[in-house]
Symmetry: C2
Subunit: 420 residues, 2 copies
């Protein structure tokens, strides 16, 4: 970055004059009051003020507000106009602090009365932020090294049912997945340390199976244990993982929060698999909240290694274009000299069938794809399920249509029949 | 609580059958897959499953979805129906973990394809949660004890401009506010530890003034220093506060996050003033995200002492009814034997004028009210600004209309003229 200012891009909707409202946002997020008070000199304003550095009023306008606003005066003629706005802040008011960055670029301004829609689209940070935070400790290269998978995605799955299995039952399933040749397994985000499946016991049982498999075959599947919890619990669980030779940990970003994730990264000796559950409440309305493009930057700089991005043809409300844009963002360097790139994790109803669209959209094999039923419910068994996923990615890389490639590959053939 | 299940209430919108969608939500948040897999026995389901324990389909229906959903099949005849849904989970799948509670009651379900609107309205937790977390360390009684204010709200203000003042300029303003008789002062959420106003220096300068005032007068205004930052920074800043005799610290909830706030509470020896900036992106759309009623319970149990609730006639998009409901929630006990009640903090364009509506709505004087311009811009000076606020609350408590009460009270009289 050549600038030492912080920048944030927004999509704004307002019944007012977009320029005036953008200036109002800048004022609220720097001097922050309406009544001139003693001490607020022009010099001080020039030193500390946020600025509107871009304003593109869009052609579209809506007859009704995207978001209700109490006491807003509107008539039948009121048009709700939309604009792309970029605000910038002097680095000096904030320092290189991610938590305080949130209060600055994503604080009170979502609640302003003349704002009937506001979405944070992107952020750009000066290099001081790159120096202040660790970024991913393992990233793509470290994940490949620990899992021993090169040249293709990590083929993964999630332990299902999400809850209800005890540690022994979990380990039995893991044994089956190891035999099936899986690269990556993760806990469900609902499974952490409940009395029915305590974390420490689950780690002991599962790692016994994985370590034995690794000793026998030389292949050690990466298991992302969900250590989400209070910070002291996460510290203890991290040490338990190390002790048992585990190679990954998972944390729910919206459960742990930013200061917790930063602290976790500071003592982490294993890759952090970041789960985004709850993301829907941050993003689901197109005129409110966070775009993934802005959001993922925070967590990458804080130091996670894998970021969930949903998947092509997923069971959720997100379209494929948005999913691919999210995944591409994870692979886009953040700073010169400190790219902070992380592995995007594709999940939700994933099968062999999505490989070509995923590869064509992403333009990379640096990803983790987790398939639940797509692997476990394969009619020829889980090993065939894994094989079908690997086959599908070979086909995608070679640019060969899946049905053609499947002619000589029974696992892929049956997988395509199942997914049809 | 007589039950050992966790309950969550939602407002749901769907083009599908509300009962089927509610059952789908329960399934997704417990077993969590679509394809039956080995190990998912009826016994296991009965033990681990979430249940729909209440479904009230509302009369209203909308012709268009509140939230877009990719790939959702709708026709011109599709109606988007709304329902109140309560889900319950067995305590055993989770244990008494607030971070994992979030993943359970507010995880992936906001993104489900047949869900075109989902808002978390309330949560109820079994007593095991009360045992597992500390709750407020000071609460209402501790805040009154430290500030020496009884029988009326704490009258407070916010240092403005939000950013730009250096530590000495901040302390000069604090000196003026002390002379004015203020009870409570807070940093703005944009002010934490920027290079232009470092935390440690600000604390030293401000507390020198406050301690001197306390020595002279016996009254020690409570100053909430914004220590928001990484966890190690917050720990250091907390110790700095103790060392200088400060009596309060402030943290931005959405910046620090849940694990960080729980950790902060565990070492806190001062009240935690919780700022909710960013709350807008969690709540602003009425068919998405969090209600304050549900949200504030998480933070109270985690251990904050003061919670921001906006204010009557505020400058934001929230209406007065919602603000009062939030404040009342803060004063409503959470558990038998562990009420976790906290002081609601009223702010945003507050003046003497709002006292009667605030008191009538809340039915209590257990609150902090912060007025910026309402105090600092009083034509007779800040002391008259504070006096007018105290007068207004006396009038509200006595049930006397403000203009009547102001006849013999020039400070209040001028305040009312200013606010008109």
């Amino acid at each position: 970055m050549s600038t030492n200012r912080i920048e944030a891009d927004y999509l704004l909707e307002t019944p007012g004059d977009p320029r005036r409202v953008a200036e109002f946002m800048a004022g609220e997020q720097s001097s922050g009051t309406f009544v001139p008070v003693p001490g607020e000199t022009p010099e001080l304003k020039a030193r500390a003020a946020a600025r509107v550095i871009r304003l593109d009023v869009l052609d579209e306008s809506a007859p009704a507000p995207a978001l209700p606003s109490a006491g807003l005066k509107v008539t039948a003629e009121t048009k709700f106009r939309r604009a792309l706005v970029t605000l910038s802040w002097p680095f000096e008011i904030l320092g290189p602090s991610l938590p305080n960055l949130l209060a600055t670029v994503a604080g009170n301004l979502f609640e302003l009365k003349p704002v009937t829609g506001l979405r944070l689209l992107d952020i750009r940070l000066p290099a001081e932020f790159a120096d202040a935070y660790l970024g991913p400790g393992f990233g793509i290269a470290g994940t490949r090294r620990l899992s021993g998978v090169e040249g293709r995605p990590l083929i993964g799955t999630i332990i299902k049912p999400s809850v209800g299995l005890n540690p022994r039952e979990t380990a039995d399933l893991v044994a089956e997945l190891c035999r099936a040749g899986i690269d990556f397994i993760k806990d469900d985000e609902l499974q952490a340390d409940g009395p029915a499946c305590p974390f420490d016991e689950r780690v002991a049982e599962v790692m016994r199976v994985i370590n034995a498999h690794a000793d026998r075959t030389g292949k050690k599947p990466m298991y992302a244990f969900n250590l989400t919890g209070d910070l002291d619990e996460m510290r203890h669980r991290h040490d338990t993982l190390l002790q048992h030779g585990a190679t990954c940990m998972m944390a729910s970003l919206n459960s742990v929060g930013l200061a917790g994730m930063i602290a976790l990264r500071r003592f982490a000796q294993l890759p952090i698999h970041a789960h985004r559950n709850g993301w829907g409440y941050l993003t689901r309305h197109p005129m409110l909240g966070w775009s993934y493009i802005a959001w993922q930057k925070i967590w990458r700089l804080a130091g996670v290694d894998h970021m969930h991005v949903n998947g092509i043809g997923n069971k959720f409300a997100e379209d494929d274009e948005s999913c691919i844009a999210s995944a591409r963002a994870c692979l886009t360097p953040m700073f010169a000299g400190k790219p902070c790139t992380v592995m995007p994790v594709f999940s939700s109803a994933q099968t062999a069938r999505q490989a070509p669209a995923t590869y064509n959209g992403l333009g990379s094999v640096d990803l983790i794809v987790t398939a639940g039923g797509g692997i476990m419910a394969h009619p020829l068994g889980a090993a065939a399920g894994v094989e079908a996923m690997v086959d599908a990615w070979q086909a995608a890389l070679a640019g060969i249509p899946l049905p053609d490639y499947a002619q000589s590959r029974p696992s892929l053939k049956r997988a395509l029949e199942m997914a049809a």
